[in-house]
C-alpha cells in the first residue's frame, strides 16, 4: 500500500521564546529553530510501519518554501521513499482551505490509497486533514491512535475516548486519517541518516504544475484571515501556599471544595 503523509514545518515552541515581531504582524522568527510537526512525525512513523507490513512506499509532501525541504529530508531519513515540495509565491497568505486545495490537487495527480496527516500542527488549527478528505470526497477519521489493515481495502481505526477506552471504527480505502500523538514510538533519526539523504532529489511543484488556479489560493482567496496577533495580558500569578505540610493539605482541600472540585 503506497501511503502519502502530509507534513508541516513548525517552530519549536517548548524552549523558544515566542514574541511578536516589530510590526505586530507575526511572531519574530529570527531566533527560532524549526522542526517537523510532532503529530506529522508520528504519522510518518505509522505509515512506515504499515508499509513495512503490506509492502509499498511512503511519500511525504509539504506546502511551503525552500526551507521546508529540510523536514522532507528528515522524514526521508526516517524511511520515506519520496518527498515532494509544493511551493509557489502565490501560496503566501493562504488559509487552510487553500493549503488543503493544493494537497487535493497533488493527490489527484498522485493517487494514494491512504493519506495521513497529523491531527493538528503545533501552530495550526487541526483543519487540513478534514478539509482534504472533504475535497477529495474520501472518508475521514480523526485523532486516530491505532490502525489495523484488513483485507479488502478496509482499515480498522481506533480513537481514545473517555475513561481510557477505545472506539474502533471500520473505514474504507481510499481514505484520509488524522493521526494522534502516541500512536507509536517513532524511530530516531541521527545526523548520519540525515546526511545520507542530503543529496536526494526532491521535486518541487508549483500551483500551475498541479493545475491549481492562483486565484483560488493566497491572501485574496482566503476565507479566513488573520486580523491580529497579540500577547494576552498577564493575569494574577499563582498562589503559593505556606505552612506545614498538614496545613497546606487542609488549605488545599478547602480551596478545591470552594471551587466546586470536590463533592
Amino acid at each position: 500500500m503506497d501511503i502519502l503523509v502530509c507534513v508541516k514545518r513548525v517552530p519549536d515552541t517548548s524552549e523558544n521564546e515566542i514574541e511578536l515581531n516589530g510590526a505586530g504582524s507575526d511572531i519574530a522568527r529570527d531566533d527560532l529553530v524549526y522542526s517537523v510537526n510532532e503529530w506529522d512525525n508520528y504519522a510518518t512513523e505509522e505509515a512506515l510501519q504499515i508499509a513495512e507490513h503490506t509492502g509499498g512506499n511512503v511519500t511525504v509532501v509539504t506546502v511551503g518554501g525552500e526551507d521546508n525541504e529540510e523536514i522532507l529530508r528528515r522524514e526521508m531519513a526516517l524511511g520515506a521513499k519520496n518527498g515532494a515540495l509544493i511551493s509557489d509565491e502565490a501560496i503566501e497568505g493562504s488559509d487552510n482551505a487553500g493549503i488543503a486545495g493544493l494537497l487535493k490537487a497533488f493527490v489527484q495527480k498522485n493517487p494514494h490509497d491512504l493519506i495521513l496527516t497529523g491531527a493538528q500542527a503545533e501552530d495550526g488549527a487541526a483543519q487540513v486533514g478534514g478539509m482534504l478528505a472533504a475535497m477529495l470526497d474520501y472518508p475521514f477519521a480523526s485523532l486516530v491512535s491505532g490502525i489495523e489493515v484488513m483485507d479488502g481495502k478496509k482499515l480498522l481505526v481506533s480513537r481514545e475516548v473517555e475513561g481510557g477506552n477505545k472506539e474502533v471504527n471500520e473505514i474504507d480505502l481510499p481514505c484520509v486519517l488524522s493521526i494522534q500523538t502516541g500512536i507509536n514510538e517513532p524511530r530516531y533519526v541521527g545526523m548520519r541518516g540525515i546526511r545520507q539523504v542530503a543529496s536526494l532529489e526532491i521535486p518541487t511543484f508549483s500551483a500551475s504544475d498541479l493545475g491549481v488556479d492562483k486565484a483560488s489560493i493566497g491572501r485574496s482567496a482566503a476565507k479566513v484571515q488573520r486580523t491580529d496577533y497579540f500577547v494576552p495580558a498577564l493575569g494574577k500569578g499563582a498562589e503559593i501556599l505556606a505552612g506545614s505540610r498538614d496545613e497546606i493539605i487542609d488549605t488545599m482541600i478547602d480551596l478545591v471544595k470552594a471551587k466546586g472540585g470536590l463533592r
Partner: protein, 325 residues
C-alpha cells in the same frame, strides 16, 4: 582486563543507526542538534548566569569574541550554564578564578555542548559536529589553557578532542594555588563531617583523586572521612551519560545507595566536583528522606565560601593583606 565501555558504545552506535533510541532520549538529542544543549534552550541564554545583578557585583565575566581574547578559557558546558542549581557552580568558579587573578573568559553563546554524553550514547556524527564547532571556537578565542568545573567536559576536551591547549579541572588548579599560598581558606568548625565523592570522569577515568582531597585537607579544622568505596573504587552517582534524561528501571537508585554510603562513613556533608553528581546526590538525599542529616556541596562552592576575599587593589597590597589574615 576486559574493557567493556567501548563495546557498549559500539553497540549503541549500531542502535542509533537503526533508529533504535529510547523515546525519552530523542528529545534531548534533537535539542543538542538544533540548539547545542540538551534542554533546547536558546543559545543567547547560555551566558545568562553571568548577568544576575548579585553576581555581577562580585564578578564580571567576559565573553571571548573578535575583540576580546583571554589567557584562560572557562569551558562551562550545558548543565552548568543552563541548570538553575548548577549555575551557582559556574558563579563560584568564576569568583575563584577571579580571586586567583586569572585572565579568563567564556565562549558564551558560541559554546555548544562538549558532546561527551552524545558520543557515549552512540550518536557519533552529532558528536563530531559539536566537537568541530567547539574546537574552532576555542582556537579562535586564542586561549592558552582551558579550565572546566565539569569532569565530563574535562574528559571530552582532554581525551576526545584534539589540537586544544592544556585542559584542567578546576580542582587541579585550586590544589596547586592552595599549595602556592595564593588562596587562603577559613576554618570550618561547626562539627560537620565531610566526605569526598569521586566523580567517575574525574577519578576513575582521569586518575584525579588527590587534588580535590588536598584542597579539602587544606581547610583548617575540616573533618574528612573516606567512604569505603572511594578513589578508583568509587560508586557512580548514576548521572553519567544522558541518564539525567532517562529513567532506568531499578529498585533503588544509585544516588540513594551512595548517600547511604556517605552516612555509613559518618559524614553529614558530601563534597563532589561534578554537576551531574550534584543533581543526583541532592535528589537522592531527598528521596532517601535524609534532608535533616545530609547536605551536598560542590568543591568550588566550598572553596568560594571559605576563601578569604581579596581586596580589590594593586597586587602587592593584596598579597600583604592575605598574609596578615
Amino acid at each position: 582486563m576486559i574493557e567493556y565501555i567501548d563495546k557498549v558504545i559500539d553497540l549503541r552506535r549500531g542502535m542509533v543507526d537503526d533508529g533504535n533510541v529510547p523515546q525519552s532520549l530523542q528529545k534531548p538529542l534533537k535539542a543538542l542538534e538544533s540548539r547545542g544543549n540538551p534542554y533546547g534552550k536558546m543559545e543567547k541564554k547560555r551566558a545568562e548566569w553571568t548577568l544576575s545583578s548579585d553576581f555581577r557585583q562580585s564578578c564580571n565575566v567576559r565573553i571571548a569574541d573578535s575583540k576580546l581574547s583571554a589567557d584562560t578559557l572557562y569551558f562551562v558546558d550545558s548543565i552548568t550554564s543552563y541548570d538553575a542549581r548548577m549555575q551557582s557552580i559556574a558563579q563560584a568558579t568564576a569568583r575563584v578564578l577571579d580571586h586567583l587573578g586569572a585572565d579568563f573568559a567564556i565562549l558564551g553563546a558560541t559554546e555548544k555542548d562538549s558532546g561527551h554524553e552524545v558520543r557515549r550514547f552512540g550518536e557519533e556524527t552529532l558528536f563530531t559536529e559539536l566537537r568541530d564547532h567547539n574546537t574552532e571556537a576555542i582556537r579562535y578565542s586564542g586561549a592558552k589553557r582551558i579550565i572546566t568545573s565539569d569532569p565530563h567536559s574535562f574528559n571530552a576536551l582532554k581525551n576526545d578532542y584534539a589540537g586544544l591547549p592544556t585542559v584542567e579541572h578546576i580542582s587541579q588548579l585550586i590544589a596547586r594555588e592552595v599549595k602556592a599560598g595564593n588562596i587562603n581558606l577559613t576554618a570550618v568548625d561547626d562539627g560537620s563531617v565531610f566526605t569526598y565523592h569521586d566523580p567517575c570522569y574525574l577519578g576513575r577515568h582521569n586518575q584525579v583523586y588527590d587534588d580535590p582531597r588536598d584542597v579539602l585537607d587544606s581547610i583548617p579544622g575540616l573533618q574528612r572521612v573516606e567512604m569505603e568505596r572511594c578513589r578508583d573504587r568509587s560508586f557512580c552517582c548514576g548521572g553519567g551519560g544522558l541518564m539525567l534524561f532517562y529513567e532506568p528501571r531499578e529498585t533503588e537508585r544509585m544516588g540513594v545507595k551512595r548517600v547511604r554510603m556517605a552516612a555509613e562513613a559518618g559524614a553529614n556533608v558530601i563534597v563532589t566536583a561534578c554537576p551531574f553528581c550534584m543533581v543526583n546526590i541532592e535528589d537522592a538525599i531527598k528521596v532517601a528522606g535524609m534532608e535533616d542529616r545530609m547536605t551536598a556541596i560542590d568543591l568550588v562552592e566550598l572553596v568560594d565560601r571559605q576563601r578569604v576575599p581579596r581586596i580589590r587593589s594593586n597586587s602587592s597590597l593584596t598579597a600583604e593583606v592575605s598574609n596578615v589574615l
